[in-house]
Amino acid sequence: MSTLLKMRVTVRTVYGLLNSFRVIRSHECTCAHGCNASRSFTTGRILHNKFYKDLENQFNAVRDKVVDALPGSQWSPFEINPNLPPERADIVIIGGGVIGWSIAYWLKKKERVRDGVKVIVVEKDPTYSQASTVLSAGGIRQQFSLTENIQLSLASADFLRNVNDHLGVLNQEAVDLQFNHSGYLFLAKESVAHIMEENYSTQRLAGAKVALLSPMQLKEKFPWINTEGVALASYGLENEGWFDPWTLLNAFRKKAISMGVIQSIGEVTGWLKAKRISLRFSSDEHFSNVDIRMPNSLEYQPVECAIVVNAAGAFSAKLVDMMGIGTGAKDTLSGLSLPVEPRKRFIYVVNCPDGPGLDCPFLVDYSGIYFRREGLGGNYIAGTSPEEDMEPDVRNLDVDHEFFNEKVWPSLAHRVPAFECLKVTSAWAGYYDYNTFDQNAVLGIHPLAQNMYFATGFSGHGLQHSPAAGRAVAELILDGRYQTLDLTGLGFQRIMSKEPMLEKNIV
């Protein structure tokens, strides 16, 4: 061993000057079996290896390219954005809010075979920074006056109760909606008490668990309320409360994606219309392509589809305008536009350590203000709807803090004296998809756009009605008519015949 080492040193001193790698290589071969641990101090071999390795890599790259360029492969000389939506789909849902994802989920749930319908959900803002879903107060109630709305709420509450049977994904954590079963409490003054009684009987008839309270009972149940001016109160006992909208949205999204729905981040910018000869109307529109533009770029992908669902919430009317529907003369069919516009609503977070405790319901006063508990640390969220002529600017989501001091606080402090000393800790604003016609949802097909379904105009009830409304729209698309709940009354027919379905509000 030692002789070998010596030999190596001598060989190196003799041939090292020549710097010929062949010699060194042969020398390495001779002593490779004996001196594995020795280190070579030359650079020649490494250089040589690098050269050959580079060459090999180049060859590999060329070979890969050639294989790619062969017919039948996906390669193209232009770089392709991997986030582009597919070129064809059966149903394109515009709007990735809770309604859109709910429709996607129900479409997949109702399909008979795996991948029976190819559904794309298009959402322009993956952060949901302006989405009505996540900026809502998250309440669910049965205390409506229209049977359709009560039934939608009951079906949705049933869905939320079994949310894990519906939206649980195998091997994923169970969905926890953080549902607060605190009920809604509506307060009515003398002049509207009879409406509340009527609504109460409608609600009981539809199966909602609601109780009427006299001012005395109200005071007994909620001692912190000032019952001055209250003639009657109606209080939800079951299936009412509030939950976390983001969790529901995400659960719908995850489940739908796990069932094969394709999510596409982008904005719908254009349409391709295919005019058809129709016997019924002179200009019957049919959409065959939807252009989806990628975020922050001019690149877009036309998606060929059979059915378009407009679930864009507050911005659904913008889409309809883009399509050129409803631009005709007024009082004709071609002038029938979607009566939905964005409205801005403020929600204020207030802190009041002496406020109502754990038994604080979602209180809605006849003056229009509402508030509910938020967490356990003495925080509450409150708000109200401004008057029709005082609507705030909807171009941004800035909060008007004066509005709280002028409109919300006085009524709030009048109803609950403890709120006289409160502190506004935070506030946010969100959009309502406000239906200017009758403040109720618009579900179904536009008479002039034969393959466009609407699910919009919920006017603030979208989140709580989303599970049942999604099911209804999916039934309308796949079965051709409503199967579980008859919501024909919420279609375009009422807008055509100018018969609004107004809620008999006590506010």
């Binding site: 091997n171 079963h181 006992l237 409360g241 939950f243 038994d359 640390g377």
Partner: protein, 261 residues
């Protein structure tokens, strides 16, 4: 012959790797690792649709069986009356009950058999019901409606959740004692629904694993139900649970976490 076995072989190799890696990941994160069986199922479902479908069927069957057990006893109710149907339901659930004005408890033994004497008392109503460690859920509670229940024991029921607590308003005039301890699905959202039970005298909310900041919740419960004696054991109420030592620096943080509670 070997060709069809290749994917399976590859899968086995991958699965073993996957399981080992997973174990290491979980052990570092402090959360309890799922059992080997669960992890094997996870690995299988990620590769084979069939396993996923089988597992989905299993959950569906389970929920169907649960639904069946809690179904409304319409036939019994029609033929024998409300209270007999309720009593029959309780015994079928392997629970126990006591008629009003009697001291004798009817219960079914561990094999689920019981004597049919209770059928003869058509006019009595149920006063105390013990459904501890049964599979009763929100729908099953509907079978007890109509009885002026004074006591309802739901200790350790896996299917009692917030929705079931919200349903308890049907006993709001009579219920005096309620035991919902050790129910794994109850959270603060359901406890808020107990405000309807203004007649409640004794409430046991011990050892609810999903209750966050139990100290604060107990105070709020006592505030909400002033006449009620709230029992809550099995919680670590020392201040250290809120995250380390409470010294001057940490004080603000502790307050904050309480506030967000």
């Amino acid at each position: 012959m070997a060709a069809p076995l290749m994917p399976l072989q590859r899968f086995c190799k991958l699965a073993s790797l996957h399981l080992c890696v997973r174990r290491r990941l979980w052990s570092s994160s402090g959360a309890t690792p799922p059992s080997l069986y669960k992890r094997l199922l996870l690995a299988l479902t990620q590769r084979f649709y069939d396993v996923e479908i089988l597992l989905n069927w299993r959950t569906q069957l389970k929920s169907k069986a649960l639904h069946k057990k809690n179904a409304y006893y319409h036939f019994t109710q029609e033929h024998y009356g409300d209270n007999i149907a309720s009593a029959y339901f309780v015994l079928n659930m392997q629970g126990a009950f006591r008629y009003a004005g009697q001291s004798e408890w009817f219960r079914s033994d561990s094999s689920g058999t019981f004597s049919w004497d209770f059928v003869n008392q058509k006019d009595s109503v149920l006063e105390e019901v013990d459904l501890s460690h049964t599979v009763i859920n929100q729908i099953g509670l509907g079978n007890l409606v109509g009885n002026p229940l004074h006591t309802l024991l739901l200790r350790g029921c896996h299917e009692v959740d917030d929705w079931a607590l919200a349903r308890l308003h049907v006993f709001q005039d009579t219920l005096e004692e309620l035991d919902i301890s050790c129910c794994p699905h109850i959270t603060i959202g359901g406890l808020a629904a107990l405000r309807n039970l203004k007649g409640l005298r004794r409430l046991n909310v011990s050892s609810l694993p999903r209750l966050c900041s139990p100290g604060l919740v107990i105070i709020l419960l006592e505030e909400m139900l002033p006449l009620c004696q709230v029992t809550a054991t099995g919680y670590d109420l020392s201040l250290t649970q809120l995250g380390g030592n409470v010294d001057e620096e940490d004080h603000g943080e502790v307050k904050l976490s309480l506030g967000q509670g």
